[in-house]
Symmetry: C2
Subunit: 245 residues, 2 copies
Amino acid sequence: MRKAAGARVHRGVGVALWRQVADGIRSAIAAGIADGQGRLPSEVDLASRFGVNRHTVRAAIQALAQEGVLAAEQGRGTYVRRQRKLVYPIGARTRFSAGFDGQARTTSVELLDHGEEAAPGVVAEALGFAPGSRLPRVETLGKADGVAVSRATHWFAGGRFRKVAATIGRTGSITRALAAVGIRDYVRASTLVEASHADVGDTQVLGLSPGAIVLVTRALNHDPAGAPIQYSVSRFPADRVELII
Amino acid sequence: MRKAAGARVHRGVGVALWRQVADGIRSAIAAGIADGQGRLPSEVDLASRFGVNRHTVRAAIQALAQEGVLAAEQGRGTYVRRQRKLVYPIGARTRFSAGFDGQARTTSVELLDHGEEAAPGVVAEALGFAPGSRLPRVETLGKADGVAVSRATHWFAGGRFRKVAATIGRTGSITRALAAVGIRDYVRASTLVEASHADVGDTQVLGLSPGAIVLVTRALNHDPAGAPIQYSVSRFPADRVELII
DNA sequence: CTGAATGGTCTATTGATCTAGACAACTGAA
DNA sequence: TTCAGTTGTCTAGATCAATAGACCATTCAG
């Protein structure tokens, strides 16, 4: 039998111990390390569980407090503030707005940027264009209860989609924007999932600390006839969102 | 317009710069930073792209060389050794052995450990048992061309599956092991995907460096009648594998 | 009110990480 | 052969990360 939860820490691998402890605490919360009132074990206790100095634990807690996960209260203890991950469903008929229904009181899609640019090779190809073709591109930010939960780049299959960007900005819905150009229905043909570290854009737009993990999905949407419409690359903060298929 | 590829580096966030650069190079390789011969830009060039000292780039390259991703050759340059990620399909009828067909010459499933233990609450519940029930548990290691690509824990719905472990060890196939206890067919009812840092077991079993990222899937398999059979938690190294749905 | 338990602050020391610069060793093309 | 371009090695200093210990401030149960 191993020591309770705790998961010891790795030294000399390029990840600071306080960050490993922070990640460890985050996942220990999910595994139920906090008591009924959401109170964490004391700093001294955590330090011995992770096999590090108390000051290192404090650094980890500070980082998590800044993220809004924990709140420390002198004399009382450290408490969990935000706990549950949102679950984002992926299926043939996924719509962002419907995705978080019942999990968040409010959801929104904001338009960050748009334009017409040379699409990356894989994207152009998937949409049926020659590599390097200039295609409409839209950047969006998804929020649930005011917290950023996704950052996506959408590429559209040709100039007739030029005005979707404006419509997304107005209505906050991609589905409605596509309806406005005559696409009444669409289905998701395939989705690729990978994971990587947050890049500079993620840290800024999603408010992540660098070193955080993002789930990346690449999806291709077809119209009912099977013609490609839209290719989307979405980035979800792995500490706030998980995907269900 | 931003500087070419490169993706600058974040300071003071608990991840050593050499590790960030190593991760950055790995993803830049996927994005095509190497030339036709698989040759990387020079160390001086990389240093200026990432905005760090040449010695920091060297530390990153050393780490990647140890992983088998790169090989440096004095006087000539640094070359890519391993590049393509494997693509693991997730669908209603996913079978591990078939998953990497066409991508790897050989695939195998090894039995690491097995026994009968108290299943975690969510697992027992999903399989239709009371929390804390003792259920058969099997740990497997999946390999493609001799490289570890997945590490999974399978829980089975009750004692009649006790002998699947032995059969998996003999045949290297979960499908065949289930057939041996009378399950001719099964389908995947749902899959949850999340991402996290590698834990101690991952670093040992999958040969990862701590701080690496793993994709975690939680899948529930039903028999054709809809009765739960098996709950599997699989861990894939995110630098070697991506998932397609 | 008292005292144990808890988080908050400070100082000091050690080792890891990052930068900087100089030069050696090797490769391949001119 | 020569030389520009590359990786390999060494030294030195600056900054960050981690440990250690001491003590303060706050909370809450007895």
